[in-house]
Amino acid sequence: MKDTEVIKKIEEGDEAAIDFLYQKYYKMMVNMIIKNNGTEEEARDIFQDALIVFWQKVRFKSLVLTSKISTYLYSICRNLWLKELEHKKRLSYEKKDDIQNLTIEADERKKIIHQCINDLGETCQKVLTLYYFDGLSMKEIAKELAFSNADTAKTKKYKCKKALDKLVKEKYSIEDFMD
């Protein structure tokens, strides 16, 4: 598959395009990180994150690709890995207990919200994901989900978001009582 085809597929929301990139460049990206003191597991994680960044850039239409996709992915991987190394270094200086407490709290909160998202209907999940993750406009969401127009998409998104807020607030208050 050519680079232009890959981009076109991502623009259409076809996730098979990143499957293709993952398998094609796995060895190249993972080897680069392993050679820079990473494990294969860390390398895999970074490469997956890089592909997600790439996906979002294309979907957000904020990408002007002036090089090959492989070159671009390589630079994202490299930057993410440098950031990760910096993060590791910083962690070793900070108080681990404080970080752990903050992480547990945040994880708990996220777990509740994640549960609420799963409790939403499939269409709501799609609308919210296309809006908040893929960064699509109402017009694009309408086209992708076959709604009649952008206003329908906007109303749907509004209702879905309201439903999610309500679910989360209910869960939060229960948690508050439990505390």
């Binding site: 796995y26 509004y158 807020d165």
Partner: protein
């Protein structure tokens, strides 16, 4: 714009500079709005994380090519070539032995080089051309056997003399002199120390004296900062020792198993003199 839309636009980083300034000042004065923004931030980042996790799970389930962990990236054919080379070399050795020929060791120029770690000091030592050279009469020096080496040549080199951190340390000379060019920077061309070359050593200092070629003449100039060796030192490794770190204390030169003292002569040319003091000799030999 409704407040929910405003929060969305803010959290997704889509506000204009003007909108952003206005919204942030509103946030600073409205704790209730700030609490709502925090809550919405949790929700939006969870929506994004959920999708991110789904994509990662999808990618993780795909088949990927195996990663070879060898940093040398050996290929089967490379191993084959290596084995073949070894067997050819082995065959040659056996052939040599069977023909009764003696195998002499080859001395390469690196053979004499002792690597060291230095603490540089910014004393610049400059080579001087056309120095007065006197004939040396010392028989030990004249007995030196000259061997061929292939030194690298640097003319008019500026050499930084290091501070010698440990008086007991060995000071190596990394090479000899070129007969035609005369002046040679002993060691690295630009006196930069490559950290990769500092391995396998217990030596903590290095002095790189200026060496001037002059066949069968062995003199020196030393003014406390700069050491110039004059003579044909190309034949073997020489070593300069410093027993104390005082500026005016003498240095000692080891060359072909002899020790010579290098006293501060204010930069004048002086013949090499054998060390006669037994205590100093035994101290030098013990190093």
């Amino acid at each position: 714009m409704e407040i929910q839309d405003k929060i969305d636009t803010y959290l997704m980083g889509r506000m204009s500079e003007r909108e952003l300034t206005s919204f942030e000042s509103e946030l600073a004065n409205n704790p209730k709005l700030q609490a709502e923004v925090d809550f919405q931030n949790d929700i939006i980042s969870s929506i994004q994380d959920t999708k991110r996790l789904q994509l990662k799970q999808r990618l993780s389930s795909l088949e990927t090519p195996p990663i070879t962990t060898s940093s040398f990236g050996f290929k089967p054919w490379a191993i084959g070539v290596s084995l073949l080379s070894l067997s050819v070399l082995g065959g040659l050795v056996v052939w040599n032995m069977n023909n009764g020929k003696e195998i002499s060791p080859t001395i390469t120029e690196d053979k004499h080089i002792t690597r060291s770690i230095i603490k540089p000091k910014n004393n610049i030592v400059t080579t001087e051309e056309n120095s007065v050279v006197e004939t040396i009469t010392h028989k030990e020096v004249n007995n030196i056997i000259i061997e061929e080496e292939k030194p690298s040549i640097v003319e008019n080199t500026e050499i930084t003399k290091p501070v010698i951190a440990d008086p007991s340390t060995l000071v190596p000379n990394p090479g000899g002199i070129d007969e035609t060019e005369g002046i040679r920077n002993a060691g690295h061309e630009n006196n930069m120390i490559d950290p990769l070359e500092q391995e396998d050593t217990h030596i903590s200092t290095k002095l790189t004296p200026v060496v001037k070629q002059n066949k069968s003449m062995f003199h020196y100039q030393y003014d406390g900062d700069k050491l110039t060796l004059i003579g044909n030192f190309k034949s073997d490794t020489y070593t300069v020792y410093e027993l104390t770190q005082q500026k005016n204390s003498p240095l000692y030169l080891k060359f072909k198993d002899n020790f010579y003292s290098l006293t501060n002569n204010n930069g004048k040319t002086k013949k090499l003199e054998l060390v006669t003091n037994e205590n100093i000799l035994s101290e030098l030999k013990s190093r």
